[in-house]
């Protein structure tokens, strides 16, 4: 910080970005390409999320990422009013929905275009894609 405080406008807060790991990179690459790529065990076929090195069912370390359907059902939600992060201050209040995806894992993402008072467990939603930078696309949901 070389400039004295007060001489420049406050910097625009930056969106917190994911730091992909060797395990999770294909998931993030998939979102960028407009796909929900989920990790499956190459040996027993079981899906797992979030990505990790070993299948907890058969302990195989071989896995493959496959495109999954974008449909799911609302498991639960919260409406974030207090911004715990400066970037999200402008967006509050916002709904974050936890969704049981058809593929058998859950995705947590903002749910847009609906009032929280309308929500019910089991409601069908679909995953959408929002590019936020050249490399990163984030998921969000809309009512199906």
């Amino acid at each position: 910080m070389s400039t004295a405080p007060g001489l420049q406008p406050a910097p625009v807060p930056e969106r917190p970005m994911p730091t992909p790991t060797r395990e999770s990179q294909p998931y993030w690459d998939g979102l960028r390409d407009g796909k929900l790529m989920l990790q499956h065990c190459a040996s027993c076929g079981k899906v797992r999320h979030y990505p990790r090195p070993v299948c907890p069912d058969c302990f195989s370390m071989e896995s493959e990422f496959k495109a999954a359907p974008l449909t799911g059902k609302l498991h639960t939600w919260t409406v974030c009013h207090h911004p715990f992060n400066f970037f999200f201050k402008a967006q509050a209040p916002y709904i974050v929905a936890l969704v049981d995806m058809e593929a058998g894992v859950r995705i947590n993402a903002p749910l847009r275009g609906v009032d929280a008072s309308q929500l019910k467990i089991g409601q069908p939603v679909t995953l959408q894609f929002e590019p936020v930078s050249k490399d990163v696309t984030l998921p969000y949901f809309a009512i199906a």
Binding site: R15, P16, M17, P18, T19, P20, T21, S24, H49, Y50, H75, T76, W77, T78, V79, C80, H81, H82, F84, N85, F88, Q91, P93, Y94, V96, L98, V105, R106, I107, N108, A109, P110, A116, K120, I121, V136, L138, P139, Y140
Partner: protein, 386 residues
């Protein structure tokens, strides 16, 4: 056959700093101040401490304790990184250490600058246990426990009809208890209406459903029970103690049952070790990072069935004079946030009959829980053995 650890260890000393919002002291200084008080309370000298479990991550490591307390021969140093479940889980490790003779007196301490230092959403992103949340959930807008746990609370409300009125009852009762304790951050009465009017943090959690960001330190000493009986204070033994880790421990989102906490595993083991059940508990100090967290733990602990936590907390049942007085010190909601070590201290006071205006008459057996890090759980069942 009784469990090998049952009543082999005791809480021999307790110490707390003032609980405040604002301090110039460091987290380490707060831990050490509380530690010296706990050592004094036990009638020990610093040189008697041969095991330390500083809070992780919290500004203190074993080296600091050796350097500051002049510990001549530390035989054990541990971190127990379980968030809010840390302190009670650390009691299990400490009990094992003193029961086997590895240590004589283990110091467990916490020092937090939760108000004057970094706030929760900043702190947690640096925890290794929160790496998944940082990668997958921070970018979509979830940062803090208030947000991550709110989804479970909402699901409980939708499935079982639990309401904000139930949450308010826990907040209001806890505040009533805090007012009886001289060392608290929140010392003014709270009404149900004030709870309902408080600002929404992350629906369904309002401000008064959330624990405090406060400054303070706390410490306890675990000693072998056969040694502790000769120390200064009435003997309080550890009948049962356990920790439990839920499925999908670092991601609530992927947990098959969002409402399943590590406590369900720990409670089974803790009750079995203690040889008692929920009906034997005279007073309970339940980890209260959020009002809902208390309600759900009461269900998991078997005080009521799943889905009945809401009605259970009503009608004075959890207040002083009720069937199950809880958080008789004001808890994390109203006394201060020292990761629940204040809960262990309060339970020890209750069983020593040192709890002043909040004393539960004839308290013999009590229970304390820890909850944290996305759902890790721990519990200890203590008994007045004096």
């Amino acid at each position: 056959m009784a469990h090998a650890l049952r009543e082999k260890a005791a809480v021999s000393g307790i110490g707390e700093t003032a609980y405040t919002r604002g301090t110039t002291k460091s987290g380490l200084a707060l831990q050490l101040e509380a530690s010296l008080k706990a050592i004094e309370d036990a009638g020990l000298k610093p040189a008697d401490i041969d095991g330390v479990v500083p809070y992780f991550p919290g500004g203190g490591i074993a080296e600091d304790f050796i350097a500051n307390l002049g510990l001549p021969d530390l035989t054990l140093s541990l971190f127990v990184p379980m968030g809010g479940a840390t302190c009670v889980a650390a009691m299990q490790s400490a009990a094992m250490a003193v029961a086997t003779g590895v240590c004589k007196n283990v110091l467990i301490s916490v020092g937090r600058t939760g108000y004057s230092g970094a706030r929760v959403s900043t702190r947690l992103q640096q925890f290794p246990q929160f790496a998944l949340a940082a990668e997958f959930e921070a970018p979509i807008g979830l940062f803090a426990p208030a947000q991550l746990y709110a989804q479970g609370a909402r699901r409980h409300m939708e499935l079982y009809g639990t309401t904000a009125r139930h949450f308010a009852e826990i907040a209001v009762t806890t505040r009533q208890h805090a007012i009886l304790n001289g060392n608290v951050v929140m010392n003014k009465p709270l009404t149900v209406e004030e709870h309902h009017a408080s600002r929404m943090i992350s629906d369904p959690f309002r401000l008064f459903d959330c624990s405090l960001e406060s400054d303070g330190g706390a410490a306890i000493i675990i000693s072998a029970a056969d040694r502790a009986k000769d120390l200064k204070k009435p003997l309080v033994t550890i009948m049962g103690v356990a920790e439990g880790h839920p499925e999908s421990p670092a991601s609530i989102a992927q947990r098959p049952d969002l409402l399943d906490f590590g406590l369900s595993k720990a409670a089974k083991r803790g009750y079995a070790m203690a040889g008692v059940g929920p009906k034997d508990i005279d007073v309970a100090e339940i980890y209260d990072c959020f009002t809902f967290t208390v309600l759900r733990q009461l269900e998991i602990l078997g005080f009521c069935r799943t889905g009945e936590g809401g009605p259970f907390v009503m009608d004075g049942r959890i207040g002083l004079g009720g069937d199950l007085p809880i958080n008789t010190h004001g808890g994390l909601l109203s006394q201060g946030h020292v990761v629940g070590l204040n809960h262990v201290i309060e339970l020890t006071r209750q069983l020593r009959r040192e709890a002043g205006k909040a004393q539960v008459k004839d308290a013999e057996v009590g229970l304390v829980t820890g909850y944290g890090d996305m759902g890790d759980g721990s519990l200890a069942i203590l008994r007045r053995a004096a």
